[in-house]
């Protein structure tokens, strides 16, 4: 098929904090140093900047200060300065405050933000520099020549449900670039492909992930002072499950409420969304939410593994920045400032390499040097084993974390080992003692009152997610395990770990069950791509523009 080709100097895939920071940094260097103007393009799969951006979030403004010193004057949408931190350990009916706020969770000097509004603002800064921002264009495939990244092919548009070309069919475009910066987010589909082709994870610890479910609530205006930050651990998670919750109070009674669970849990019957509902039913939380209204819902995976799981992030013609590279401090629960920082470094490295006329891996290694010699390693190295320590249980994790503050992360076994999270899930037989002994699967719709707690389908309605119906399903399931062994081995965990009711086992009309994929409910969180115990689900981008609409998230 004849495809159009577009040539640029730097192609940035992903218009989140990392990609936009890379673009802005490139524009700044261009202005400072002059020379032949660089052609720069940013690809973003969402309909508009920020639509797919979801996070807590409490922002460490250090990178923002470096990137845009006059961010206040430029109207950066920082909802509230943090005034008060609370950390609690929850039991089923009570809450126990931590004796001191653990230093990583001390947020003095940080800001509560909506990442969706923040990314919209960053994108407006990028567009003001005249950089092409192509929203509604996902990166579908990588263009490679051997080990060299040549660029990215965007997704075809106008393909019908059964793979046929519709009358308005529009083939994807091949965008070739001297340097491609991959900022396609946690478990980015292109970065995943780079891992496979270039063995980027060789010599590293396996990547680790968590899933975060979030709701935006509107409460009576006097309920919580803006700038209040609350973190909890404990109920409803058991010691074998990693995670906790957050509540960040913004002005006008808006509250960001979220629940994070490690995607390495052992119980195949565990359902993160049900755990989120149980969390909301805890008296501390339900009282806080009394009289309020849920106005938005969403979910996204988080890259939790830390420093030792970060892959090689530079290659011939390519760099990886942001969540796609795993640059998150899971102990501080912060990744936005690191995404921005690595984005800036990537922009600088790309600029220098292009000016030097050499975009090989050897030349682009300067990106790794900036990471190693700067604030990124400085922050991530001392906490490199924290997530893996929690893999041994809640208390070992807490103890190690406390210790790590003093010992800068030293441990007998360094790096601390952990298995890929989806391999931690035990079979029904091993966890419950028998395939038949699995507890009667509580329906997703039980114990919800649709005021405080919601079933997945109702929640997903409030994610604003929408996809053109007439297109093939973008969740690819590669084998027949769903209909052969999965039921007996794991009891179809996809039905439970997907927070958006995409996967369903329905009557096949012949006495059995078949897998139904409700692709248009997908919120692009990547949990299924990560957590399926057989590793047979691949998330590919749906037609550009489809997905959630995370306004205010």
């Amino acid at each position: 098929m004849q495809r159009e080709q577009l040539e640029v100097d730097v192609l940035i895939v992903g218009g989140g904090p990392a990609g936009l920071s890379a673009a802005l940094r490139l524009a700044q260097l261009q202005k400072q140093q002059g020379g032949e103007p660089l052609a720069i393009a940013v690809l973003e799969k969402a309909r508009e900047a920020g639509a797919h951006s979801l996070s807590g979030a409490v922002l460490d403004p250090s990178t923002l200060r470096d990137l845009i010193p006059d961010f206040m004057a430029k109207g950066a949408p920082l909802a509230a300065e943090v005034h008060k931190d609370h950390v609690y350990f929850l039991t089923q009916s009570s809450k126990i405050p931590f004796p001191i706020i653990p230093p990583p969770l001390q947020n003095h000097g940080n800001y509560i933000i909506s990442i969706n509004r923040f990314v919209q603002w960053l994108a407006s800064q990028v567009e003001a520099e005249g950089i092409d921002f192509f929203s509604g264009f996902p990166g579908q495939d990588i263009l490679m020549d051997g080990a060299r990244v040549l660029g990215v092919r965007t997704g075809d548009r106008g393909i019908g449900k059964h793979g046929e070309q519709r009358p308005n069919f529009e083939p994807g475009v091949d965008i070739v670039a001297k340097v491609t910066i991959f900022c396609d987010g946690v478990r980015g589909n292109l970065t995943k492909e780079l891992h496979r082709r270039l063995q980027l994870g060789a010599g590293r610890q396996p990547e680790q992930f968590a899933v975060g479910l979030k709701e935006l609530w509107e409460l009576p205006k006097d309920r919580l002072a803006p700038g209040t930050v609350i973190h909890t651990m404990g109920y409803p998670l058991r010691h074998e499950e990693f995670g906790g919750a957050f509540m960040y109070a913004m002005p006008e009674g808006q509250l960001s409420l979220g629940f994070v669970v490690g995607l390495d849990y052992k119980d195949p019957m565990f359902d993160p969304h049900m755990a989120f509902n149980r969390f909301k039913q805890h008296p501390f939380v339900s009282q806080l939410l009394e009289g309020g209204q849920m106005i938005r819902y969403g979910a996204k995976a988080l890259p939790e593994g830390g420093w030792n799981t970060i892959p090689r992030v530079y290659m011939d013609g390519g760099l990886i920045a942001g969540d796609a590279g795993g640059f998150m401090n899971s102990m501080r629960l912060k990744g936005i400032h690191l995404a921005m920082r690595t984005g800036m470094h990537a922009g600088e490295a790309a600029f220098e390499a292009i000016r030097a006329g050499d975009t090989s891996a050897a030349s682009l290694k300067r990106y790794q040097d900036k990471i190693d010699n700067g604030p990124v390693k400085q922050e991530l190295y001392p906490v490199r084993n924290v997530h893996q320590a929690f893999g041994h249980g809640l208390f070992p994790g807490l103890m190690y974390s406390g210790l790590a503050l003093v010992t800068k992360g030293w441990w007998i076994q360094d790096p601390m080992r952990a298995e890929p999270g989806h391999e931690e899930m035990k079979t029904l037989a091993r966890y419950y003692g028998s395939e038949q002994a699995a507890p009667a699967q509580a329906s997703n719709t039980t114990l919800v009152d649709r005021k405080l707690t919601f079933d997945k389908l109702t929640n997903v309605h409030f994610s604003g997610t929408a996809h053109d119906e007439d297109q093939p399903a973008h969740l690819l399931v590669h084998t027949e395990v769903c209909h052969s062994i999965c039921g007996n081995e794991y009891g179809h965990p996809c039905v439970r770990f997907c927070p958006a009711h995409v996967y369903e086992m329905v009557d096949d009309g012949q006495g059995g069950k078949r897998l139904q994929i409700n692709a248009s409910n997908c919120v692009h969180c990547k949990t299924c791509d990560i957590m399926d115990p057989y590793g047979v689900i691949t998330w590919v981008p749906p037609e550009g523009g489809g997905g959630p609409q995370y306004n205010g998230m």
Binding site: E4, R47, F134, P167, N168, E170, A466, Q549, N551, G552
Partner: protein
């Protein structure tokens, strides 16, 4: 042919309504916008007519700065240039104020054909196009399903209720309001998006004397003032009772 397409920016279909504090308009924070769907079909029709008969397609839009979003999308799909009547007050204005604002900017251009969507997905007055035609001194027809151009004239297919249609002949210049689904919308290509940045968007201030004809006293969520009536009994008893109530109470039969 010099063709104008009037395009409105409206909240997306997935938008969950929130009201402002005095409940006279929507809360504009966190609203996502898109091109009004019938207007997108009008734009597509204009692009096809230009492909067939030559000429230029000019996008005309009235509203605050944010409507640049849909103007640029129209330019990216292939429109040649744009007129933007920029004014914050036009975001919530009724059809008459908007038509007057557009007419002020468009009158000097001497368009051969003006296309609008049949109504907007936000306020839905179904009036802007027709009022605009009157202001521009053009004949009009509404809810158009097909457009044929010949020497100095038009033959158009208008939709009537109940599966009826009608062909109408009119001279040019004229204004048509276009029905959704009349054609297949094309995507904006990457090259189109890049080219759009260089296309001319002329900003025009609102002419004096543009006035609203109606005022929104209150905006509210539709309330159901009814109670659900549960009907018990055996299948045949319940069926009988339901039919009775539908016929006598609800008058739904």
């Amino acid at each position: 042919m010099k063709i104008a397409v009037c395009i409105k920016q409206v909240p997306t279909r997935e938008w969950q309504p929130r009201l402002n504090d005095d409940k006279t308009w929507i809360r504009e924070q966190d609203v996502s916008y898109e091109m009004n769907e019938p207007d997108a079909y009008a734009l597509e029709e204009a692009l096809r007519l230009r492909e067939k008969h030559g000429g230029e397609v000019v996008v005309c839009s009235a509203g605050p700065a944010r409507v640049q979003q849909v103007i640029r999308e129209a330019l990216a799909r292939g429109a040649d240039r744009a007129l933007h009547v920029e004014d914050d007050g036009l975001g919530a204005a009724d059809a008459f104020a908007i038509a007057d604002a557009l007419a002020g900017a468009m009158a000097g251009e001497k368009f051969d054909l003006v296309l609008t969507g049949l109504q907007s997905d936000d306020q839905g007055h179904a009036a802007t196009g027709v009022v605009l035609a009157e202001r521009l001194g053009m004949p009009h027809s509404t809810i158009i399903m097909e457009v044929q151009v010949s020497d100095g004239g038009l033959r158009i297919k208008r939709e009537l209720e109940g599966g009826w249609f009608q062909w109408i002949t009119m001279p040019l210049p004229a204004l048509l309001t276009i029905q959704s689904g009349i054609n297949q919308l094309r995507y904006a290509t990457l090259k189109g998006i890049m080219a759009a940045k260089k296309k001319e968007i002329t900003k025009v201030p609102v002419a004096a004397g543009v006035e609203r004809v109606q005022q929104i006293a209150a905006l509210a969520f539709p309330t159901k003032s009814k109670q659900t009536q549960m009907i018990a009994g055996s299948a045949s008893e319940a069926a009988k009772e339901l039919v009775r109530r539908l016929r006598d109470e609800a008058r739904a039969l």
